[in-house]
Protein backbone atom coordinates (compact mmCIF):
# COMPACT_ATOMS: atom_id res chain seq x y z
CA UNK A 1 0.00 0.00 0.00
CA UNK A 2 1.40 3.36 -1.03
CA UNK A 3 1.80 5.81 1.81
CA UNK A 4 -0.71 8.64 1.83
CA UNK A 5 0.15 12.27 2.37
CA UNK A 6 -2.15 15.14 3.26
CA UNK A 7 -2.22 17.64 0.40
CA UNK A 8 -4.23 20.46 -1.08
CA UNK A 9 -5.88 19.60 -4.39
CA UNK A 10 -3.90 22.20 -6.30
CA UNK A 11 -0.63 20.84 -4.93
CA UNK A 12 -1.64 17.26 -5.72
CA UNK A 13 -2.06 18.24 -9.37
CA UNK A 14 1.39 19.83 -9.41
CA UNK A 15 3.11 16.88 -7.75
CA UNK A 16 1.32 14.39 -10.01
CA UNK A 17 2.41 16.38 -13.07
CA UNK A 18 6.04 16.31 -11.94
CA UNK A 19 5.77 12.55 -11.36
CA UNK A 20 4.35 12.20 -14.87
CA UNK A 21 7.51 13.62 -16.41
CA UNK A 22 6.15 17.13 -16.89
CA UNK A 23 9.21 19.32 -16.45
CA UNK A 24 7.77 22.41 -18.13
CA UNK A 25 5.18 24.67 -16.57
CA UNK A 26 3.98 28.13 -17.63
CA UNK A 27 1.42 30.07 -15.64
CA UNK A 28 0.05 33.41 -14.58
CA UNK A 29 -1.29 34.22 -11.11
CA UNK A 30 -5.02 33.74 -10.56
CA UNK A 31 -7.21 32.58 -7.68
CA UNK A 32 -8.16 29.81 -6.81
CA UNK A 33 -5.34 27.84 -8.45
CA UNK A 34 -2.48 29.86 -6.94
CA UNK A 35 -0.94 26.99 -4.95
CA UNK A 36 -0.36 25.00 -8.13
CA UNK A 37 1.78 27.73 -9.70
CA UNK A 38 3.57 28.32 -6.40
CA UNK A 39 4.36 24.60 -6.07
CA UNK A 40 5.83 24.51 -9.56
CA UNK A 41 7.83 27.69 -8.90
CA UNK A 42 9.40 26.00 -5.88
CA UNK A 43 10.05 22.58 -7.36
CA UNK A 44 10.87 22.90 -11.06
CA UNK A 45 13.98 25.13 -10.82
CA UNK A 46 15.51 22.48 -8.51
CA UNK A 47 14.86 19.65 -10.96
CA UNK A 48 17.22 18.75 -13.79
CA UNK A 49 15.80 20.17 -17.00
CA UNK A 50 12.94 21.75 -15.07
CA UNK A 51 11.45 24.94 -16.50
CA UNK A 52 9.13 27.22 -14.54
CA UNK A 53 8.18 30.53 -16.07
CA UNK A 54 5.63 33.08 -14.94
CA UNK A 55 4.40 34.39 -18.27
CA UNK A 56 3.36 37.97 -18.99
CA UNK A 57 -0.21 36.81 -19.66
CA UNK A 58 -2.36 33.70 -19.95
CA UNK A 59 -2.08 34.17 -23.70
CA UNK A 60 1.70 33.98 -23.57
CA UNK A 61 1.60 31.06 -21.12
CA UNK A 62 -0.47 28.89 -23.45
CA UNK A 63 1.74 29.85 -26.40
CA UNK A 64 4.83 28.83 -24.43
CA UNK A 65 2.99 25.56 -23.84
CA UNK A 66 2.47 25.34 -27.61
CA UNK A 67 6.22 25.83 -28.12
CA UNK A 68 7.22 23.09 -25.69
CA UNK A 69 4.49 20.74 -26.91
CA UNK A 70 5.94 21.17 -30.42
CA UNK A 71 9.17 19.63 -29.17
CA UNK A 72 7.28 16.58 -27.89
CA UNK A 73 8.04 17.21 -24.23
CA UNK A 74 5.38 17.06 -21.55
CA UNK A 75 4.08 20.48 -20.58
CA UNK A 76 1.31 21.98 -18.52
CA UNK A 77 -0.38 25.27 -17.73
CA UNK A 78 -3.05 26.00 -15.17
CA UNK A 79 -5.47 28.79 -14.53
CA UNK A 80 -8.98 29.59 -13.43
CA UNK A 81 -11.99 30.54 -15.52
CA UNK A 82 -11.19 34.11 -16.75
CA UNK A 83 -7.62 33.03 -17.46
CA UNK A 84 -8.75 29.91 -19.28
CA UNK A 85 -10.89 32.10 -21.54
CA UNK A 86 -7.70 33.95 -22.51
CA UNK A 87 -6.01 30.64 -23.33
CA UNK A 88 -8.68 29.56 -25.79
CA UNK A 89 -6.89 30.91 -28.87
CA UNK A 90 -3.78 28.94 -28.00
CA UNK A 91 -5.76 25.82 -27.12
CA UNK A 92 -7.39 25.93 -30.55
CA UNK A 93 -3.93 26.12 -32.17
CA UNK A 94 -2.67 23.23 -30.03
CA UNK A 95 -5.70 21.15 -31.03
CA UNK A 96 -5.37 22.21 -34.68
CA UNK A 97 -1.68 21.28 -34.71
CA UNK A 98 -2.41 17.90 -33.05
CA UNK A 99 -0.16 18.52 -30.07
CA UNK A 100 -0.40 16.89 -26.64
CA UNK A 101 -0.57 19.27 -23.67
CA UNK A 102 -2.36 19.47 -20.33
CA UNK A 103 -4.44 22.47 -19.27
CA UNK A 104 -5.86 22.76 -15.77
CA UNK A 105 -8.96 24.85 -15.06
CA UNK A 106 -9.72 25.28 -11.36
CA UNK A 107 -13.09 26.88 -12.06
CA UNK A 108 -14.59 29.88 -10.33
CA UNK A 109 -17.93 31.63 -10.76
CA UNK A 110 -18.58 33.82 -13.78
CA UNK A 111 -19.29 35.29 -16.26
CA UNK A 112 -16.85 38.17 -16.55
CA UNK A 113 -14.60 38.66 -13.60
CA UNK A 114 -17.25 36.79 -11.60
CA UNK A 115 -15.98 35.68 -8.23
CA UNK A 116 -13.41 33.39 -6.69
CA UNK A 117 -15.69 30.71 -5.25
CA UNK A 118 -16.09 27.28 -6.88
CA UNK A 119 -18.12 26.75 -10.01
CA UNK A 120 -18.72 24.35 -12.87
CA UNK A 121 -19.89 27.00 -15.28
CA UNK A 122 -17.06 26.47 -17.78
CA UNK A 123 -18.55 23.09 -18.73
CA UNK A 124 -19.69 24.25 -22.17
CA UNK A 125 -16.35 25.94 -22.84
CA UNK A 126 -14.42 22.82 -21.85
CA UNK A 127 -16.57 20.16 -23.51
CA UNK A 128 -17.80 21.86 -26.68
CA UNK A 129 -14.51 23.24 -27.96
CA UNK A 130 -13.99 26.60 -26.28
CA UNK A 131 -11.94 28.28 -28.97
CA UNK A 132 -12.62 28.61 -32.68
CA UNK A 133 -12.97 25.71 -35.08
CA UNK A 134 -14.03 22.07 -34.78
CA UNK A 135 -12.17 20.38 -31.98
CA UNK A 136 -12.45 18.69 -28.62
CA UNK A 137 -10.34 18.37 -25.53
CA UNK A 138 -10.26 15.26 -23.42
CA UNK A 139 -11.89 16.64 -20.26
CA UNK A 140 -11.36 14.94 -16.90
CA UNK A 141 -13.28 15.96 -13.77
CA UNK A 142 -11.78 15.07 -10.39
CA UNK A 143 -14.03 14.56 -7.40
CA UNK A 144 -11.35 14.14 -4.72
CA UNK A 145 -7.78 15.18 -4.08
CA UNK A 146 -6.81 11.60 -4.97
CA UNK A 147 -8.41 12.07 -8.36
CA UNK A 148 -6.73 15.46 -8.78
CA UNK A 149 -3.48 13.48 -8.77
CA UNK A 150 -4.63 10.38 -10.65
CA UNK A 151 -6.44 12.22 -13.42
CA UNK A 152 -3.50 14.57 -13.93
CA UNK A 153 -1.32 11.56 -14.66
CA UNK A 154 -3.97 10.13 -16.92
CA UNK A 155 -4.35 13.45 -18.75
CA UNK A 156 -0.68 13.35 -19.81
CA UNK A 157 -0.95 9.77 -21.01
CA UNK A 158 -4.15 10.35 -22.98
CA UNK A 159 -2.85 13.60 -24.49
CA UNK A 160 0.25 11.78 -25.77
CA UNK A 161 -1.68 8.75 -26.96
CA UNK A 162 -4.19 10.71 -29.03
CA UNK A 163 -2.08 13.84 -29.87
CA UNK A 164 -4.79 15.92 -28.35
CA UNK A 165 -4.81 18.52 -25.56
CA UNK A 166 -6.38 17.28 -22.32
CA UNK A 167 -8.02 19.41 -19.66
CA UNK A 168 -8.38 18.78 -15.98
CA UNK A 169 -11.69 20.49 -15.19
CA UNK A 170 -11.63 21.02 -11.43
CA UNK A 171 -13.27 23.66 -9.30
CA UNK A 172 -12.25 25.92 -6.44
CA UNK A 173 -13.34 23.40 -3.81
CA UNK A 174 -11.22 20.65 -5.28
CA UNK A 175 -8.28 23.03 -5.56
CA UNK A 176 -8.48 24.25 -1.98
CA UNK A 177 -9.52 21.17 0.00
CA UNK A 178 -6.97 18.97 1.77
CA UNK A 179 -7.29 15.18 1.73
CA UNK A 180 -4.98 12.21 2.07
CA UNK A 181 -3.61 11.22 -1.31
CA UNK A 182 -1.49 8.32 -2.54
CA UNK A 183 0.74 9.97 -5.13
CA UNK A 184 1.20 8.21 -8.46
CA UNK A 185 4.43 6.35 -9.10
CA UNK A 186 6.85 8.35 -11.25
CA UNK A 187 6.41 7.48 -14.90
CA UNK A 188 7.45 9.10 -18.14
CA UNK A 189 5.60 9.00 -21.40
CA UNK A 190 6.62 6.22 -23.73
CA UNK A 191 4.80 7.37 -26.87
CA UNK A 192 7.10 7.97 -29.86
CA UNK A 193 6.85 11.50 -31.30
CA UNK A 194 8.41 11.48 -34.76
CA UNK A 195 6.47 14.66 -35.62
CA UNK A 196 8.25 16.76 -32.97
CA UNK A 197 10.47 19.70 -33.89
CA UNK A 198 13.86 19.02 -32.34
CA UNK A 199 16.12 20.11 -35.19
CA UNK A 200 16.56 17.96 -38.29
CA UNK A 201 20.18 17.13 -37.36
CA UNK A 202 20.43 17.05 -41.20
CA UNK A 203 19.08 13.49 -41.01
CA UNK A 204 15.45 13.96 -42.03
CA UNK A 205 13.14 16.31 -43.92
CA UNK A 206 12.03 19.23 -41.78
CA UNK A 207 9.11 18.80 -39.41
CA UNK A 208 6.48 21.52 -39.42
CA UNK A 209 4.05 22.13 -36.58
CA UNK A 210 1.16 23.95 -38.15
CA UNK A 211 -2.59 24.40 -38.29
CA UNK A 212 -2.76 26.43 -41.52
CA UNK A 213 -4.18 24.74 -44.62
CA UNK A 214 -5.29 27.22 -47.24
CA UNK A 215 -6.78 24.59 -49.53
CA UNK A 216 -10.21 23.76 -48.10
CA UNK A 217 -10.17 20.14 -49.24
CA UNK A 218 -6.88 19.61 -47.39
CA UNK A 219 -8.15 21.38 -44.26
CA UNK A 220 -11.31 19.29 -44.41
CA UNK A 221 -9.20 16.14 -44.54
CA UNK A 222 -7.28 17.15 -41.39
CA UNK A 223 -10.63 17.72 -39.66
CA UNK A 224 -11.92 14.32 -40.73
CA UNK A 225 -8.72 12.63 -39.56
CA UNK A 226 -8.86 14.41 -36.20
CA UNK A 227 -12.49 13.40 -35.70
CA UNK A 228 -11.61 9.80 -36.44
CA UNK A 229 -9.26 10.03 -33.46
CA UNK A 230 -12.07 11.62 -31.43
CA UNK A 231 -14.26 8.67 -32.37
CA UNK A 232 -11.61 6.32 -30.98
CA UNK A 233 -11.44 8.39 -27.80
CA UNK A 234 -15.21 8.16 -27.43
CA UNK A 235 -14.99 4.42 -27.92
CA UNK A 236 -12.06 3.75 -25.57
CA UNK A 237 -11.73 6.46 -22.99
CA UNK A 238 -15.14 7.10 -21.43
CA UNK A 239 -14.82 6.98 -17.66
CA UNK A 240 -17.52 7.28 -15.03
CA UNK A 241 -18.47 5.98 -11.61
CA UNK A 242 -21.74 4.19 -11.19
CA UNK A 243 -22.96 4.41 -7.56
CA UNK A 244 -25.95 2.40 -6.28
CA UNK A 245 -27.41 2.18 -9.77
CA UNK A 246 -28.29 -1.55 -9.71
CA UNK A 247 -31.69 -1.06 -8.13
CA UNK A 248 -32.03 2.68 -8.72
CA UNK A 249 -35.38 4.10 -9.82
CA UNK A 250 -34.02 7.61 -10.10
CA UNK A 251 -30.59 8.69 -11.27
CA UNK A 252 -28.60 11.73 -10.21
CA UNK A 253 -25.91 12.83 -12.65
CA UNK A 254 -23.18 14.96 -11.09
CA UNK A 255 -19.42 15.41 -11.27
CA UNK A 256 -16.74 16.99 -9.11
CA UNK A 257 -17.84 18.47 -5.79
CA UNK A 258 -21.50 18.17 -6.82
CA UNK A 259 -21.15 14.37 -6.95
CA UNK A 260 -19.86 14.28 -3.38
CA UNK A 261 -22.84 16.23 -2.09
CA UNK A 262 -25.11 14.02 -4.19
CA UNK A 263 -23.73 10.87 -2.55
CA UNK A 264 -24.66 12.21 0.88
CA UNK A 265 -28.13 13.08 -0.37
CA UNK A 266 -28.51 9.57 -1.82
CA UNK A 267 -27.56 7.99 1.51
CA UNK A 268 -30.26 9.99 3.26
CA UNK A 269 -32.90 9.35 0.59
CA UNK A 270 -32.23 5.63 0.66
CA UNK A 271 -32.87 5.68 4.43
CA UNK A 272 -36.32 7.00 3.48
CA UNK A 273 -36.75 4.16 1.00
CA UNK A 274 -36.17 6.18 -2.13
CA UNK A 275 -34.05 4.18 -4.55
CA UNK A 276 -31.74 6.80 -5.98
CA UNK A 277 -28.36 6.14 -7.64
CA UNK A 278 -25.61 8.25 -9.12
CA UNK A 279 -23.76 8.33 -12.40
CA UNK A 280 -20.66 10.44 -11.93
CA UNK A 281 -18.97 11.31 -15.22
CA UNK A 282 -15.18 11.31 -14.78
CA UNK A 283 -14.70 12.22 -18.41
CA UNK A 284 -17.22 14.89 -19.44
CA UNK A 285 -15.77 14.74 -22.93
CA UNK A 286 -16.15 12.03 -23.98
CA UNK A 287 -19.43 12.05 -22.06
CA UNK A 288 -20.69 8.70 -20.69
CA UNK A 289 -23.60 8.64 -23.14
CA UNK A 290 -24.05 4.89 -23.14
CA UNK A 291 -24.25 4.67 -19.34
CA UNK A 292 -26.94 7.37 -19.28
CA UNK A 293 -28.81 5.78 -22.20
CA UNK A 294 -28.83 2.40 -20.49
CA UNK A 295 -29.87 3.97 -17.20
CA UNK A 296 -32.82 5.53 -19.03
CA UNK A 297 -34.05 1.98 -19.75
CA UNK A 298 -34.44 1.39 -16.02
CA UNK A 299 -34.93 4.64 -14.14
CA UNK A 300 -37.97 6.91 -14.11
CA UNK A 301 -36.11 10.21 -14.18
CA UNK A 302 -32.81 12.07 -13.89
CA UNK A 303 -31.57 14.92 -11.72
CA UNK A 304 -28.59 16.88 -13.05
CA UNK A 305 -26.79 18.47 -10.11
CA UNK A 306 -24.54 21.30 -11.18
CA UNK A 307 -22.68 24.40 -9.98
CA UNK A 308 -23.93 26.32 -13.00
CA UNK A 309 -27.19 27.46 -14.57
CA UNK A 310 -27.49 24.03 -16.16
CA UNK A 311 -24.92 23.03 -18.75
CA UNK A 312 -24.26 19.29 -18.38
CA UNK A 313 -28.04 18.76 -18.31
CA UNK A 314 -28.03 19.23 -22.09
CA UNK A 315 -25.67 16.28 -22.51
CA UNK A 316 -27.78 14.20 -20.12
CA UNK A 317 -30.90 14.92 -22.21
CA UNK A 318 -29.10 14.10 -25.46
CA UNK A 319 -27.82 10.85 -23.97
CA UNK A 320 -31.12 9.65 -22.53
CA UNK A 321 -32.83 10.59 -25.82
CA UNK A 322 -35.73 12.46 -24.21
CA UNK A 323 -37.28 9.33 -22.81
CA UNK A 324 -37.38 10.39 -19.16
CA UNK A 325 -37.82 13.67 -17.36
CA UNK A 326 -34.53 15.39 -16.56
CA UNK A 327 -34.57 18.13 -13.95
CA UNK A 328 -31.91 20.55 -12.82
CA UNK A 329 -30.71 20.99 -9.26
CA UNK A 330 -28.26 23.85 -9.26
CA UNK A 331 -26.60 26.80 -7.60
CA UNK A 332 -24.47 29.33 -9.45
CA UNK A 333 -21.98 32.13 -8.98
CA UNK A 334 -19.83 30.25 -6.48
CA UNK A 335 -22.60 28.58 -4.47
CA UNK A 336 -22.83 24.81 -3.98
CA UNK A 337 -26.12 22.86 -3.95
CA UNK A 338 -26.71 21.37 -0.49
CA UNK A 339 -27.97 17.93 0.50
CA UNK A 340 -31.40 19.38 1.41
CA UNK A 341 -31.77 21.00 -2.00
CA UNK A 342 -30.84 17.79 -3.83
CA UNK A 343 -33.35 15.80 -1.72
CA UNK A 344 -36.09 18.38 -2.32
CA UNK A 345 -35.55 18.51 -6.09
CA UNK A 346 -35.40 14.71 -6.32
CA UNK A 347 -38.58 14.31 -4.28
CA UNK A 348 -40.34 16.86 -6.50
CA UNK A 349 -39.32 14.80 -9.51
CA UNK A 350 -40.59 11.62 -7.85
CA UNK A 351 -43.99 13.13 -7.07
CA UNK A 352 -44.37 14.60 -10.55
CA UNK A 353 -43.54 11.21 -12.11
CA UNK A 354 -45.61 9.10 -9.75
CA UNK A 355 -48.36 11.62 -9.22
CA UNK A 356 -51.05 10.60 -6.81
CA UNK A 357 -49.47 7.17 -6.23
CA UNK A 358 -47.57 8.55 -3.28
Amino acid sequence: MTEKVLMKGNEAIAEAALRSGCLHYFGYPITPQTELTAYMAKRLPKMEGGVFLQAESEISAINMVYGVASTGKRVMTSSSSPGVSLKQEGISYIAGSDLPAVIVNVQRGGPGLGGIQPSQSDYFQATKGGGHGDYHLIVLTPSSVQEMADLTSLAFDLADKYRCPAMLLADGTMGQMMEPVALPEPHMGTVEKPWAVTGTQMKRKHNVVNSLYLQPEVLEKTNFERFERYRQIEENEVRYESYLMDDAEYCIVAFGIAARVAKNAITMMRKDGLKVGLIRPITVWPFPKKAIREAADKVKGFVSVELSMGQMIEDVRLAEECRRPVVLCNRAGGMIPGVDQIIAVTKDLVSSVEGGAR
Binding site: M64, G67, T71, T198, H206, N207, V208
Partner: protein
Amino acid sequence: MAIVFQKPASLTDKELHYCPGCPHGIIHRLVAQAIDALGIEGKTIGVAPVGCAVMAYDYFSCDMVEAAHGRAPAVATGLKRSLPENVIFTYQGDGDLASIGMAETVHAATRNENITIIFVNNAIYGMTGGQMAPTSLPGQVTQTSPYGRDVRTQGYPIRVCELLSALDAPYYIERVAVNNVKNVNAAKKAIEKAFRNQIEGKGFSLIEVVSACPTNWGMTPQKALQWVEDKMIPYYPLGVFKDRGAEAKEAN
Protein backbone atom coordinates in the same frame (compact mmCIF):
# COMPACT_ATOMS: atom_id res chain seq x y z
CA MET B 1 31.70 27.24 -65.33
CA ALA B 2 32.28 28.38 -61.76
CA ILE B 3 29.27 28.88 -59.54
CA VAL B 4 29.51 32.36 -58.07
CA PHE B 5 26.09 32.60 -56.45
CA GLN B 6 23.45 30.09 -55.49
CA LYS B 7 20.40 29.59 -53.33
CA PRO B 8 21.31 28.97 -49.67
CA ALA B 9 21.10 25.32 -48.60
CA SER B 10 18.71 26.09 -45.76
CA LEU B 11 16.01 27.34 -48.13
CA THR B 12 13.76 24.70 -49.67
CA ASP B 13 12.98 24.53 -53.40
CA LYS B 14 9.43 25.73 -52.78
CA GLU B 15 8.49 28.66 -54.97
CA LEU B 16 7.96 31.83 -52.90
CA HIS B 17 4.44 33.25 -52.94
CA TYR B 18 5.53 36.86 -52.37
CA CYS B 19 4.50 39.65 -54.75
CA PRO B 20 6.93 40.80 -57.45
CA GLY B 21 9.37 43.32 -56.00
CA CYS B 22 8.73 42.27 -52.38
CA PRO B 23 11.91 42.27 -50.26
CA HIS B 24 10.79 39.23 -48.22
CA GLY B 25 12.73 37.06 -50.68
CA ILE B 26 15.94 38.99 -49.94
CA ILE B 27 15.37 38.81 -46.19
CA HIS B 28 14.63 35.05 -46.33
CA ARG B 29 17.88 34.62 -48.21
CA LEU B 30 19.84 36.63 -45.64
CA VAL B 31 18.43 34.51 -42.81
CA ALA B 32 19.22 31.31 -44.68
CA GLN B 33 22.74 32.52 -45.51
CA ALA B 34 23.35 33.17 -41.82
CA ILE B 35 22.10 29.68 -40.93
CA ASP B 36 24.35 28.18 -43.63
CA ALA B 37 27.38 30.27 -42.64
CA LEU B 38 27.08 29.17 -39.02
CA GLY B 39 26.35 25.55 -39.97
CA ILE B 40 23.30 25.37 -37.73
CA GLU B 41 20.49 24.22 -40.03
CA GLY B 42 20.24 20.85 -38.28
CA LYS B 43 19.62 22.39 -34.89
CA THR B 44 17.63 25.44 -35.88
CA ILE B 45 13.87 25.77 -35.34
CA GLY B 46 12.11 28.72 -36.92
CA VAL B 47 8.82 30.25 -35.87
CA ALA B 48 6.65 31.69 -38.63
CA PRO B 49 4.23 34.55 -37.94
CA VAL B 50 0.78 35.45 -39.17
CA GLY B 51 1.13 37.95 -41.97
CA CYS B 52 2.78 37.83 -45.38
CA ALA B 53 5.47 35.45 -44.08
CA VAL B 54 2.86 33.04 -42.72
CA MET B 55 4.06 30.31 -45.07
CA ALA B 56 7.74 30.77 -44.22
CA TYR B 57 7.59 27.26 -42.74
CA ASP B 58 7.53 25.96 -46.29
CA TYR B 59 10.58 27.97 -47.33
CA PHE B 60 13.13 27.21 -44.61
CA SER B 61 14.44 23.66 -44.56
CA CYS B 62 15.02 23.60 -40.80
CA ASP B 63 12.24 22.47 -38.43
CA MET B 64 9.46 25.06 -38.28
CA VAL B 65 6.50 26.01 -36.10
CA GLU B 66 3.63 28.22 -37.18
CA ALA B 67 2.57 30.57 -34.37
CA ALA B 68 -0.68 32.40 -33.75
CA HIS B 69 -0.71 36.11 -34.66
CA GLY B 70 1.81 37.97 -32.49
CA ARG B 71 2.66 34.99 -30.29
CA ALA B 72 5.92 33.95 -31.93
CA PRO B 73 8.18 35.24 -29.10
CA ALA B 74 6.15 33.23 -26.56
CA VAL B 75 6.27 30.12 -28.75
CA ALA B 76 10.01 30.67 -29.26
CA THR B 77 10.40 30.99 -25.48
CA GLY B 78 8.78 27.59 -25.01
CA LEU B 79 10.98 26.07 -27.70
CA LYS B 80 14.21 27.59 -26.36
CA ARG B 81 13.50 26.76 -22.73
CA SER B 82 12.87 23.12 -23.57
CA LEU B 83 15.68 22.83 -26.16
CA PRO B 84 18.40 25.21 -24.93
CA GLU B 85 21.01 23.68 -27.25
CA ASN B 86 18.96 24.42 -30.35
CA VAL B 87 18.86 27.72 -32.22
CA ILE B 88 15.45 29.38 -32.26
CA PHE B 89 14.43 32.28 -34.46
CA THR B 90 11.19 34.09 -35.21
CA TYR B 91 10.39 35.93 -38.42
CA GLN B 92 7.68 38.54 -37.87
CA GLY B 93 6.07 41.52 -39.51
CA ASP B 94 5.12 44.87 -38.01
CA GLY B 95 1.47 44.08 -37.25
CA ASP B 96 2.45 40.75 -35.71
CA LEU B 97 5.35 42.00 -33.62
CA ALA B 98 4.49 45.61 -32.78
CA SER B 99 0.69 45.54 -32.55
CA ILE B 100 -1.00 42.31 -31.50
CA GLY B 101 2.25 40.78 -30.22
CA MET B 102 3.73 43.78 -28.40
CA ALA B 103 3.40 42.19 -24.96
CA GLU B 104 5.13 39.00 -26.10
CA THR B 105 7.89 41.05 -27.76
CA VAL B 106 8.59 43.33 -24.80
CA HIS B 107 8.57 40.51 -22.26
CA ALA B 108 10.78 38.19 -24.31
CA ALA B 109 13.19 41.15 -24.58
CA THR B 110 13.12 41.97 -20.88
CA ARG B 111 13.82 38.32 -20.03
CA ASN B 112 16.77 38.54 -22.42
CA GLU B 113 15.34 35.35 -23.87
CA ASN B 114 18.14 33.71 -25.83
CA ILE B 115 16.39 33.86 -29.20
CA THR B 116 16.81 35.70 -32.49
CA ILE B 117 14.01 37.85 -33.86
CA ILE B 118 13.91 39.03 -37.46
CA PHE B 119 11.42 41.88 -37.56
CA VAL B 120 10.32 43.00 -41.00
CA ASN B 121 8.92 46.54 -40.94
CA ASN B 122 7.16 47.58 -44.14
CA ALA B 123 4.71 49.97 -42.48
CA ILE B 124 1.60 48.11 -43.62
CA TYR B 125 -0.44 44.93 -43.23
CA GLY B 126 0.36 43.20 -46.51
CA MET B 127 -1.38 39.83 -46.23
CA THR B 128 -4.81 41.32 -45.55
CA GLY B 129 -4.51 43.88 -48.31
CA GLY B 130 -2.89 47.03 -47.00
CA GLN B 131 -4.27 48.23 -43.67
CA MET B 132 -2.59 50.71 -41.30
CA ALA B 133 0.21 49.14 -39.27
CA PRO B 134 1.62 50.28 -35.92
CA THR B 135 4.60 51.47 -37.98
CA SER B 136 2.66 53.24 -40.74
CA LEU B 137 4.06 56.77 -41.11
CA PRO B 138 2.11 59.90 -40.14
CA GLY B 139 -0.07 60.82 -43.08
CA GLN B 140 0.40 57.43 -44.77
CA VAL B 141 -2.61 56.42 -46.82
CA THR B 142 -3.76 52.84 -46.24
CA GLN B 143 -7.06 50.98 -46.54
CA THR B 144 -7.89 51.82 -42.90
CA SER B 145 -6.36 55.30 -42.95
CA PRO B 146 -7.79 56.38 -46.31
CA TYR B 147 -7.31 60.09 -45.48
CA GLY B 148 -3.77 59.50 -44.25
CA ARG B 149 -2.73 58.35 -40.77
CA ASP B 150 -4.04 61.06 -38.47
CA VAL B 151 -1.78 61.00 -35.43
CA ARG B 152 -4.45 62.77 -33.34
CA THR B 153 -6.85 59.84 -33.63
CA GLN B 154 -4.68 56.96 -34.85
CA GLY B 155 -1.56 57.59 -32.85
CA TYR B 156 2.07 57.79 -33.83
CA PRO B 157 4.19 55.02 -35.35
CA ILE B 158 6.10 52.84 -32.90
CA ARG B 159 9.87 52.77 -33.22
CA VAL B 160 10.46 49.25 -31.95
CA CYS B 161 14.26 49.37 -31.67
CA GLU B 162 14.21 52.61 -29.69
CA LEU B 163 11.45 51.32 -27.44
CA LEU B 164 13.14 47.99 -26.67
CA SER B 165 16.56 49.52 -26.19
CA ALA B 166 15.15 51.42 -23.19
CA LEU B 167 15.03 48.05 -21.39
CA ASP B 168 18.03 46.88 -19.39
CA ALA B 169 17.92 43.28 -20.53
CA PRO B 170 18.01 42.78 -24.31
CA TYR B 171 21.47 41.95 -25.62
CA TYR B 172 21.47 43.25 -29.16
CA ILE B 173 19.13 45.48 -31.16
CA GLU B 174 19.89 46.82 -34.63
CA ARG B 175 17.89 48.34 -37.46
CA VAL B 176 18.92 47.64 -41.04
CA ALA B 177 17.37 48.04 -44.49
CA VAL B 178 17.45 46.11 -47.76
CA ASN B 179 16.77 48.89 -50.27
CA ASN B 180 20.25 48.89 -51.84
CA VAL B 181 23.31 46.68 -52.06
CA LYS B 182 25.19 48.49 -49.32
CA ASN B 183 22.28 48.13 -46.92
CA VAL B 184 21.71 44.49 -47.88
CA ASN B 185 25.34 43.71 -47.06
CA ALA B 186 25.01 45.46 -43.69
CA ALA B 187 21.76 43.57 -43.02
CA LYS B 188 23.50 40.28 -43.80
CA LYS B 189 26.17 40.99 -41.18
CA ALA B 190 23.58 42.06 -38.59
CA ILE B 191 21.43 38.96 -39.05
CA GLU B 192 24.43 36.66 -38.80
CA LYS B 193 25.51 38.47 -35.63
CA ALA B 194 22.03 38.01 -34.16
CA PHE B 195 22.30 34.25 -34.68
CA ARG B 196 25.88 34.14 -33.41
CA ASN B 197 24.84 35.94 -30.24
CA GLN B 198 22.36 33.18 -29.53
CA ILE B 199 24.88 30.41 -30.17
CA GLU B 200 27.22 32.15 -27.73
CA GLY B 201 24.43 32.30 -25.16
CA LYS B 202 24.33 36.10 -25.10
CA GLY B 203 20.58 36.46 -25.21
CA PHE B 204 17.88 38.39 -26.99
CA SER B 205 18.81 39.77 -30.40
CA LEU B 206 16.37 41.62 -32.60
CA ILE B 207 17.11 42.85 -36.10
CA GLU B 208 14.55 45.21 -37.54
CA VAL B 209 14.65 45.17 -41.32
CA VAL B 210 13.11 48.25 -42.94
CA SER B 211 11.36 46.76 -45.92
CA ALA B 212 8.92 47.75 -48.64
CA CYS B 213 5.50 46.72 -49.90
CA PRO B 214 5.20 47.87 -53.52
CA THR B 215 1.82 46.18 -53.95
CA ASN B 216 0.05 47.81 -51.02
CA TRP B 217 2.00 51.06 -51.18
CA GLY B 218 0.76 51.28 -54.78
CA MET B 219 4.24 51.85 -56.18
CA THR B 220 6.58 50.19 -58.61
CA PRO B 221 9.34 48.24 -56.84
CA GLN B 222 11.89 50.94 -57.75
CA LYS B 223 9.68 53.73 -56.42
CA ALA B 224 9.03 51.72 -53.26
CA LEU B 225 12.76 51.40 -52.61
CA GLN B 226 13.11 55.13 -53.15
CA TRP B 227 10.27 55.69 -50.65
CA VAL B 228 12.20 53.57 -48.14
CA GLU B 229 15.17 55.87 -48.62
CA ASP B 230 13.19 59.13 -48.59
CA LYS B 231 10.47 58.45 -46.02
CA MET B 232 11.07 55.27 -44.02
CA ILE B 233 14.74 55.57 -43.11
CA PRO B 234 14.44 59.19 -41.91
CA TYR B 235 11.68 58.06 -39.51
CA TYR B 236 13.37 54.74 -38.70
CA PRO B 237 17.10 55.55 -38.62
CA LEU B 238 19.43 52.63 -39.24
CA GLY B 239 22.04 51.56 -36.75
CA VAL B 240 22.78 49.64 -33.56
CA PHE B 241 20.48 50.64 -30.71
CA LYS B 242 21.72 48.30 -28.07
CA ASP B 243 24.81 46.16 -27.89
CA ARG B 244 25.54 44.93 -24.41
CA GLY B 245 28.67 43.25 -25.70
CA ALA B 246 30.10 46.61 -26.81
CA GLU B 247 28.89 48.28 -23.59
CA ALA B 248 30.75 45.69 -21.56
CA LYS B 249 33.93 46.30 -23.57
CA GLU B 250 33.65 50.04 -23.05
CA ALA B 251 33.14 49.56 -19.34
CA ASN B 252 36.39 47.64 -19.18
